[in-house]
Symmetry: C2
Subunit: 449 residues, 2 copies
């Protein structure tokens, strides 16, 4: 690592903190359409001022900002971030102005301090450090910063599809999220995919329930159809559902075993005495991180107001979220679901796809993972906790699909996870170490093989 | 039959029609609370003017009118009717004022013309005919006319319970409803009961669906539990559900076989090519009229708005309407349901009872049925169609429970069933023949054994 870069980081500490606060003070609430263009312009201007080929792209939703900083080496690293934030409400629960960026006891309070401004901004400051130190970037650094992550990233898919050349890279990193509960910086190597469907049974119209002996009831049809999808042993029964499941490697299981987690807190929060199937320890962890799921997220049919109503409903629908793991493909699962329903006599059940995304996992042995692990260790003087796959999904599938890039994510937020909640904050020290980690990553990844 | 009574009916034709129109012109919309007390007072006054012990009873809802006309014989007949009507909306679809009682081509148009003023009022006019003819009533005639039938008869249960002596009788008749589609007066001898429950599964709170591998999902719990209640062969699987089912007698089956019905119209209306289980003809009819049911009337859980939401819902509920037949008891079925759910591992599913009523059927051989059949045949010169049991339920169970009386119902409305719809009407001729039929019934039932 070039000492001049580290030197600059030391010298520019206060400036770097002040610039983050300036960014945090610019509201950018995607759900409410507040300050979005202003925030995108601020980022575009800053990236341009650093000498990047910076662009603000209008989309059907909120603008996307991109920038390219050519470097010396042959490698290219793409950094993904999002400048939009969750609404700050309930405002009365904030101790400080959610867009005031007040600093108290080393904590900088603001909506977006962690999710995601205080995280992704470290990469911009890392680029700036090389510039100010007069050290050429050892690789090409590209940015894509969207404004719709908190509202489901609707414009991202088409944008990435249409800008493959602009965004092509050797590796993709996100910077978002928090330390573990025990205080370690985190790296996330994968996530689940999803096949989200709405299932519907319908007839011509509602009927008086006295006709139930003779007429089809869509609510029963739906219940019976759903019942064929998963049994009480939590086994998904769609034929072939598990065929392509990528089992975790020994090393991924080892990483999982080392992960901090607090099953007691989760059980208490859920009011359960034990996890489903009585799972404990590593088996429970394995299921949470590596097993595909089939979840009813909603059911609606007929009359659910006060008291009794004697009706055969004309429509019954359910929303079902199937979390997939690598190598399950949403389109394949959708086809298998159709075949399954038909085979079990439910060709009357309509399937509407409400979204599909592929899961992805980056090997712990890959150059980008090893480089990031080392750079975080050097900057924080703490070995990062590595989560081989999070239990959730995310927009990263877009990059997988169009650029064949798996995303890994670094997390520099505090152990106390207040993302989406009042009093979100980032430690000044974590932010500054985060900048150093990313600056080191540029160098380490440029040399990795 | 005393000729003097028939003579009076001839002479008083226009007066009897004018009095019905006066009653029809008094709005009495229970759902909207319009004209209820006025209508009840009008009836009480008329019954008192005929020399009955007439009373207007205030209830937590709308008033109930009773009257007792002592007669010579030892028998007592209780007549049940309701003076409340459905709201007339949509007003723009009425050809005539819904409370104008206009007569066109022998049809008297008004909300309540059939349901139930034009029907039950025949019994008041029958009593009046005996009075005016100077002929003593051959039996004691009692009336109970409620004002909440269209809004679920909430006050009736307690009222009957608290006025057993006042209402005690040897037989109970209702007068309500329509001729068959083929133009025959109808008699209904029974109806189904009901056990209506709401089933609920719940946990402490909603969760992100990424936690689905470990946390209980109430929507799945409910689907699995419902699935154990009825299978795709339409068999109710609650242990002992069918134990007490009273099978129809040979004679009831014969009556059923003779019933007019139009399965093609019902299939077309429902958009089905065939009835459930492929049933046809008498088998379909039998199931409709004599089989108990288990019907999902509503299900609600989680998110059912636009698009996907990835959530494990905290609550899932279903409303289930079980139509019972004689001798199934709602409390017994409720207990069997609890036992069934517990046995199948669903002790977590809460059961809330939203109402229970017993079914009832009067034997076609009973004196009241034979007397009514003969009196209608004589008055209308048409043999009535006898439905041994309707597929629906009704407030009649109240009388069964407190007075041990089965209700049979005579129907004098036109074949065109516009009850609850615009342009409801009764034929002048049917109304007048209805009065004669009830006057004949008084005599015939007083002599029946």
């Amino acid at each position: 690592m070039d000492e001049r870069v580290l030197q600059i980081l030391q010298e520019k500490t206060e400036r770097n903190v002040a610039d983050l606060k300036r960014l945090l003070r610019q509201p950018s609430i995607s759900a409410q359409g507040i300050g979005m263009l202003e925030c995108a312009q601020m980022l575009r201007d800053e990236l341009a001022a650093l000498g990047g080929q910076a662009e603000l792209h209008l989309t059907p939703g909120h603008p996307i900002v991109t920038a390219v900083f050519p470097g010396e080496g042959p490698k290219t690293l793409l950094v993904y971030g999002h400048y939009d934030v969750q609404p700050p409400e309930p405002l009365e629960e904030w101790k400080y102005d959610p867009f005031g960026a007040e600093e108290v006891d080393g904590k900088i309070f603001a909506r977006g301090a962690v999710d995601d401004k205080g995280n992704f901004y470290t990469a911009i400051k890392a680029v700036q450090a090389y510039k100010e130190a007069g050290v050429p970037l050892p690789l090409t650094v590209k940015f894509i910063i969207e404004g719709e992550e908190e509202v489901s990233s609707a414009s991202l898919y088409d944008f990435v599809k249409e800008h493959k050349d602009l965004l092509q890279a050797d590796a993709l990193i996100g910077i978002d999220g928090n330390f573990t509960v025990n205080g370690y910086p985190q790296m996330l190597l994968g996530r689940k995919g999803m096949c989200y469907v709405q299932l519907t049974a319908r007839t011509a119209r509602d009927h008086h329930s006295m006709r139930a002996p003779l007429l089809v009831n869509p609510a029963w049809r739906l219940v019976w159809a759903l019942n064929t999808l998963k049994n009480e042993r939590e086994e998904v029964l769609i034929e072939g559902f598990y065929d392509d499941v990528l089992e975790p490697t020994e090393e991924e299981m080892q990483l999982l075993a080392e992960l901090d987690w607090n099953p007691e807190a989760l059980l208490q929060e859920a009011g359960q005495s034990e996890f489903l199937l009585g799972l404990e320890g590593l088996e429970a962890k394995k299921r949470l991180h590596f097993a595909p799921t089939c979840t009813i997220c909603g059911i609606g049919s007929g009359y659910m107001g006060q008291g009794p109503k004697t009706v055969i409903p004309s429509v019954a629908s359910a929303k079902v979220d199937m979390r997939l793991v690598p190598n399950q493909k949403p389109a394949d699962i959708l086809a298998k679901l159709r075949k399954h329903l038909d085979k079990h006599g439910f060709s009357d059940i309509e399937i509407e796809s409400l979204g599909g995304l592929e899961g992805c996992r980056t090997s712990p042995h890959s150059p980008i993972v090893r480089a990031m692990q080392q750079s975080i260790t050097e900057a924080f003087v703490l070995k990062p906790s590595i989560m081989p796959s999070i239990p959730g999904s995310g927009p990263a599938y877009v990059f997988k699909e169009h650029l064949n890039l798996n995303q890994i994510t670094a997390c520099f937020g505090p152990p106390e996870d207040l993302n989406h909640a009042p009093n979100e904050y980032i430690f000044r020290s974590s932010y500054l170490k985060g900048i150093e980690a990313i600056a080191r990553l540029f160098k380490l990844y440029s040399q990795a093989e």
